[in-house]
Amino acid sequence: MTVLSGRDLPRDGEDLQGAALHGRLERTWGDAPGLWGWLTTTDHKRIGKRYIVTALVFLMLGGLLALAMRLQLARPESGLISPDRYNQLFTMHGTTMMFLFAVPVMEAMAIYLVPLMIGTRNISFPRLNAFSYYMYLAGGTLLWVAFVLNIGPDAGWFAYVPLSGPEFSPGKRTDIWAQMITFTEVAALAVAVELVATILKQRAPGMTLARMPLFVWGVLVTAFMVIFSMPSVALASGMLIADRLVGTQFYNQYEHGDPLLWQHLFWFFGHPEVYIIFVPGAGFVSQITETFCRRPVFAYPAMVLALVTIGLLAFGVWVHHMFATGLPRMGYSFYTAATMAVAIPSGIQIFCWIATIWDGRPRFQVPLLYVVAFIVTFVIGGLSGVMQASVPIDLQVHDTYFIVAHFHYVLIGGAVFPLLGAITYWFPKITGRMMGEGLGKTSFWMIFLGFQVAFFPMHLLGMWGMPRRVYTYPTGMGWDEMNMLATLGSFVVALAVLLFVVNAVHSLLRGAVAGPNPWDAPTLEWATPSPPPQYNFAHIPVVASRTPLWDNRHHLPVVTGLRVDDRELLLTTVMEARPDLREASPLPSIWPLWAAISTTCLFISSIFTPWAVLVGAFPVAAALTAWFWPKSPPSPEPVIE
């Protein structure tokens, strides 16, 4: 047991443990009671939960939109939904799912889990974390309120100019979309920075990079991808707003702007975005596989390398969204090769997961079932992705329902199935209760089969020539049956999701009480009670392997000596995770909320007038000043005083 020495201040250690320590830590790390505490909290678990729930609400809303679209498409020449509304529907569906559900939910899971998995007491920059949630909420609310008011964006989630430009998208619909991007970009970038800092500097002593759980690796790769890709779309949407509001000419081909500039910038973000969603999903899969097969994931170094490779390749493939734009043909070959290359790390990962099952003693409980569903579905999606990497094939299937099928296989298969597995898996940790197994299995099979029924026919529709983003289609094209089938499948999925929710709510209230580690999992988050106390760990654990809880089932070594009268964190070195510094984690504060409110006002009013940027900067500056007003001496201090 390492003891951190120091001046004579209250610290955890042999003198202070058990209930007494708990009391002190509770006082130090606890939030104010009631609404005030709710608004001012900087606890990563509270904010993470909010984030997760909000993202899931957006998932449901996005799903409702999907159902509406499927209803409209169930029959040819259906007059159920007007084209104007339908275009808003699919734009909202794509936007909600990509910007308001998929990325946030992955980051939300990371916000909740990463500090627990690496054995620290809070995320770094926790006020920024609170701020990011409010920004995300405001962005999502802006978009949905606009949609309810019939000013929802209608230029597609990709918002290609010139269709989304000032001439062809009159009104504020696209501005709202673009500003929603700004909101979610701010939120996502903030979280990414927090996660990188947390993962690199706050790991428990001994958790070298090579001992990090694969999910944490996934989050680290994702966070870097967010940091490098999101500015591209923020830039693009910023230029779009400028074009629309103050008449700049970034995308006006007449004035030597370029509509393709948008596509380059958007897909330079848009393709990494897909992996931003998939890589954490792969992390879920690794954690679940490990736990339910009782084996560490096979070939850990290969898995890590695969994740990093995917992260790098993600930035070299964006042009495969633009094969039909008529760019120089030879240049396309590079993107074909890069896109196909993504299949190599993905293939390695798939192999390793199956090898883990092969080598282990799998218990096919709901989380692992989702892993199996993930493998089946994701492989299909991945293979159809390989097809689209080929320029000639892409020229045929691009922008058809084949693509719709492909990316739903990849995104639902690659991210939503793992997510549902992950929710089932970590539900006891978050709520303290197990999710019902029976309902869980029922909804799993319904989701899995319903999904295949809903989306497999779309491959065929695409091959039979049905383009995407059409609000209706003529009779006699031979598309009727498959569309009807897809609609039926989508309703099965919807029903299953409803069951999942029922199960979750029921389990939340009546579920079996889970201990600290109901699945006998090997990672640190299971080393603390369920749900975890506000300070996460009474003593910071010390790690000697990738599976600390399997190595030291009953006596997890810990490090003591962190102050208990201050929110002190232990910072460790980047590579080896040796104790390095102690730093005080910020106290709860209302100012992140105010900063978010003032930034929201700035963003929303800048949809209407450019002056808002100038005027609105003052309240933002004021809120930030108050936020960062120094209250105590800066405290990073060496571990050895």
Partner: protein
């Protein structure tokens, strides 16, 4: 799971099954489409094999429920030899993946080159400028003698056996030209000129549809593609080059007068008459077309009445406005339009 796998194995067959359609990528009615279809089949087979391999491994792992450690604890010593087998398998698998991908990449590249080759080598016999508008297509046939040029809308005719160079331009937003039975797609981008070569091999009628989301009526932006024998094509050209004949029946004459003096002529052109506007489809040979309103309705007396009487009911948001003709005017105009053979 097994069923899904099986149906994926059927993909190549299903692709072939699409043969009958007028808008399907398995159509193989053009040189380019056939090349792509071959490649597609190859990809389906190779990826199908990989899928089968993954599924086999997954099932094996599932059935095996291996591991001999009852205490559920990993044991470095015990798993090492097993690991070695798996490690070799991993390398083999990775090599197979890389090999397969390289094979596919090379195949794709070769197909791409032969598509590009058709662009460079074939001196196109037919030269068409196709312009995408919200939400209809304008086709302009170009000839060395510009006075032979003519325009038509929402249809193109091509002769079999010769390469047609189609120059693509967009008037407003991005559209995408796609005749799946003949070739892949090519975007029409404002401010840029793109092109695509079609080499149809089989007489027939195919359907093309805008494949890039272009706004409200993206769903109703189809193009009727007719592939003729060279002789039929020449006949069609000759007919299209002729200006419209003067109307003869009293009703058609009344319709003509209405057309020339009222809203119609502010947007539409009819060659040989004073109507020369270019923002709407050229109607000179309207009745030789199979569809109206970019494939929204079949062509004919009834649909014409319906379309002119209430275009916004048929195709909400289209640029054809509701004019509010009375019954006589409507009949007259349709009578005149029906003379535009």
């Amino acid at each position: 799971m097994r069923r899904r796998g099986a149906s994926l194995m059927l993909l190549p067959l299903l692709a072939l099954a699409g043969c009958g359609g007028i808008q399907t990528i398995g159509g193989r009615e053009g040189r380019e489409a056939a090349l792509i279809d071959d490649l597609f089949t190859l990809f389906c087979i190779v990826t199908g094999l990989f899928f089968a391999a993954v599924m086999a491994f997954l099932f094996a792992a599932y059935w095996r429920r291996g591991g001999h450690r009852a205490d559920r604890m990993p044991d470095e010593g015990a798993t090492a030899p097993r690991d070695r087998g798996l490690r070799i398998a991993l390398f083999a698998w990775t090599a197979a993946v890389i090999g397969g991908l390289m094979g596919l990449a090379v195949a794709s590249f070769l197909t791409d080159r032969s598509l590009a080759y058709s662009t460079a080598a074939g001196r196109p016999v037919v030269s068409i400028e196709l312009i995408g508008n919200q939400w209809w297509w304008e086709a302009r046939y170009h000839f060395p003698d510009p006075s032979q040029n003519f325009r038509t809308a929402n249809e193109i005719h091509l002769p079999t056996g010769s390469a047609a160079m189609i120059t693509l331009k967009a008037n407003d937003v991005i559209h995408s030209f796609w005749v799946p039975n003949l070739a892949g797609k090519q975007d029409l981008i404002p401010g840029r000129v793109t092109d695509i070569v079609l080499t149809p091999t089989k007489v027939g009628r195919y359907r093309a549809q805008c494949a890039e989301y272009c706004g409200l009526q993206h769903a109703h932006m189809a193009l009727d593609v007719t592939v003729d024998t060279p002789a039929d094509y020449a006949r069609w050209l000759a007919a299209q080059t002729r200006p419209a004949a003067a109307p003869t029946t009293p009703q058609a004459i009344a319709g003509y007068r209405f057309f020339m003096t009222r809203q119609c002529s502010a947007c539409h052109a009819v060659a040989g008459t004073p109507a020369g506007a270019g923002v709407g489809p050229d109607l000179t040979h309207l009745m030789s077309r199979r569809t109206i309103a970019a494939g929204t309705l079949p062509n004919g007396t009834g649909p014409l009445h319906a379309w002119i009487a209430d275009p916004q009911g048929v195709k909400p948001g289209a640029n054809m406005p509701y004019i509010g003709l009375d019954a006589d005017e409507l009949h007259n105009v349709v009578a005149y339009l029906e003379t535009l053979k």
